[in-house]
Amino acid sequence: MTATDVNVNKSSREYPVALKRSWAGWRFVAPFMAVFALVFLAPIAYSIYLSLFRTQLIGGTTFVGAGNYVKALSDPRFWAAFGNVAIFLVVQVPIMLFLALLVALVIDSGRLYGTSFFRISVFLPYAVPAVVATLMWGFMYGTRFGLIGNLNERLGLSLPDPLSADLMLASIGNIVTWEFVGYNMLILYSALRVVNPSLYEAAQIDGAGQLRVIWAIKLPALRGALLIATIFSIIGSFQLFNEPSILRVLAPNVITTYFTPNLYAYSLSFSGQQYDYSATVAIVMGVITMIIAYVVQLRGMRKGA
């Protein structure tokens, strides 16, 4: 993000004389900002407002100040939900990004037969809706007509049920990895494509091997892209909703109404009518997400300095 700050500062000097500082630019930006205010800023303000009240069947709506926040922070269901996405973040995100990095480096090395076929095939799952991805994997996970069931039957194996309590988080992690590994690969690959070729020539003259080139040239060039991919993945993990929500049909006893913070906020609103508390849970998660994303960004930048 700081990179673009630089961009802003620099560009004010680079503008052509005819386009010096004036209100003209607002004519272009205003339509976006008007809709943005309606669908981003107003809901944020409204949910902060909601989170300060509590509605009860008896007594109506009362102002409770930080009451809902105190309640959320000592709510075992909230922390159970948070625990699930935290594990998810620590395990799934590194695996996915490592796979994405590996594939991006291999494709960029130019040593594959059918490079573009690999690139597009690995990316393809990104075009598949989360609903379809989850339905497909859910069917395959099934022990009835799923692949797991088939394998157990044909090969006499007894593979564990991927939809059991022990394996559910891993099974969801697999679906999310499948959906997004190609997208992350493409972000990293795009960053590799713009490395200055003269660096590779210099390395070749110095007699550097492939691994040395990766370590000394490619990985440093990928730092920015990796940072962006990591931050997007953190936000994505904390927002986990679609996959567990759809798998609930297959495993209603394993996936609770508070399996992830978003699922919890959703059920509080739409099954429990507790809009005030639901808004509070959403805000707390939003703040935690922003803090972690910010810390990761700072650390990433510092390593870069």
Binding site: A3, V6, S11, F28, V35, P43, I120, M136, A279, G304
Partner: protein
């Protein structure tokens, strides 16, 4: 940081590296094929199983065809089941995509261009607010947005899906970065000298130069709208306004409800029909979005 500043001066057109001599490796290709199997296997599974009847699904091996090839009868059944509701969901999805993703791309393009090519009071604030909003979990906004829209009487109407789809912060960011280099200042300046107004310059001169960036943003907003699940789940109760994603989900859940008819063959065939248009679009427009993305990544 300095690296980024230096990079700004590189031309944005993504140049192919001068062809280095690579020794292609069979071993590496085979190893990477494991990844290929992982990403393509579920799609193959979907394709194979869309050709099975419900009985075939239960009675045959998942990765091979059952005796009877029922793909076409499945497609016909999917399109006619429950009074042809699938077709209605398809048309709804198209409506949301055309107005939502189309609108989002238009707003992001115009605003991105404005940010890249004009200096105006409050520009830094615009940047800060938009980037800050990206970090807010999108789903966290759904409940308050639902309550607001309910107050305005917009829930259970197409507007509840279209209006929130109009904003793509990622699209804005990409267009901003793209426009900064794709449209040379000299061209804008010379149009100015000719007496063209800002919007005339934008439509006649700048827009054609922005097209690879626009295609990229359009593809990503189309995917986001086509695949949207959470927003419609929150906003819509009436199945007549469902998009495909929500419709498929409801067919799948139907089997679990008391007295509901299990239509797994239709869920699978419907899933296949849902992903084919997007996969086709990505394959056909490869050249555009790959160069657009690469351009965006220069500035990260």
């Amino acid at each position: 940081m300095t690296a980024t500043a230096r990079r700004r001066h590189k031309p944005l057109v993504v140049r192919r590296r001068p062809a280095r001599r690579h020794r292609r490796s069979v071993t590496l290709t085979l190893l990477t094929s494991i990844m290929l199997v992982y990403t393509l296997l579920p799609l193959a599974w979907l394709l194979i199983n869309a050709s099975k009847t419900q009985e075939g699904l239960f009675g045959s091996f998942g990765l091979w065809f059952a005796g009877d090839f029922a793909l076409f009868s499945n497609i016909a059944d999917t399109l006619t089941y429950d009074g042809g509701i699938f077709t209605r969901w398809l048309l709804n999805t198209l409506l949301y995509v055309i107005l939502g993703a189309g609108g989002a791309t238009a707003l992001a393009t115009i605003a991105g261009y404005g940010l890249a090519k004009f200096d105006f009071p409050g520009k830094k604030a615009v940047f800060a607010v938009v980037i800050g909003a990206v970090a807010v979990p999108g789903t966290a906004l759904a409940v308050p947005t639902f309550l607001m829209f309910a107050g305005l009487g917009l829930t259970d109407t197409p507007w509840a899906i279209i209006i929130p789809s109009l904003i793509s912060p990622f699209g804005l960011y990409l267009m901003w970065i793209y426009a900064a280099d794709a449209v040379p200042d000299e061209i804008i300046e010379s149009a100015r000298v000719d007496g063209a107004r800002e919007f005339q310059t934008f439509f006649r001169v700048s827009l054609p130069l922005l097209s690879p960036g626009i295609v990229t943003v359009l593809l990503f907003t189309v995917v986001a709208t086509w695949n949207n699940y959470f927003l419609p789940l929150v906003m819509l109760r009436d199945p007549d306004w469902y998009p495909l994603t929500l419709g498929l989900d409801s067919w799948n859940a139907q089997a679990a409800t008391a007295g509901g008819e299990a239509v797994f063959n239709l869920v699978i065939t419907g899933s296949l029909l849902t992903i084919v248009p997007l996969i086709a679009a990505f394959l056909l427009l490869q050249r555009y979005w790959q160069s657009g993305l690469a351009a965006g990544s220069v500035k990260e």
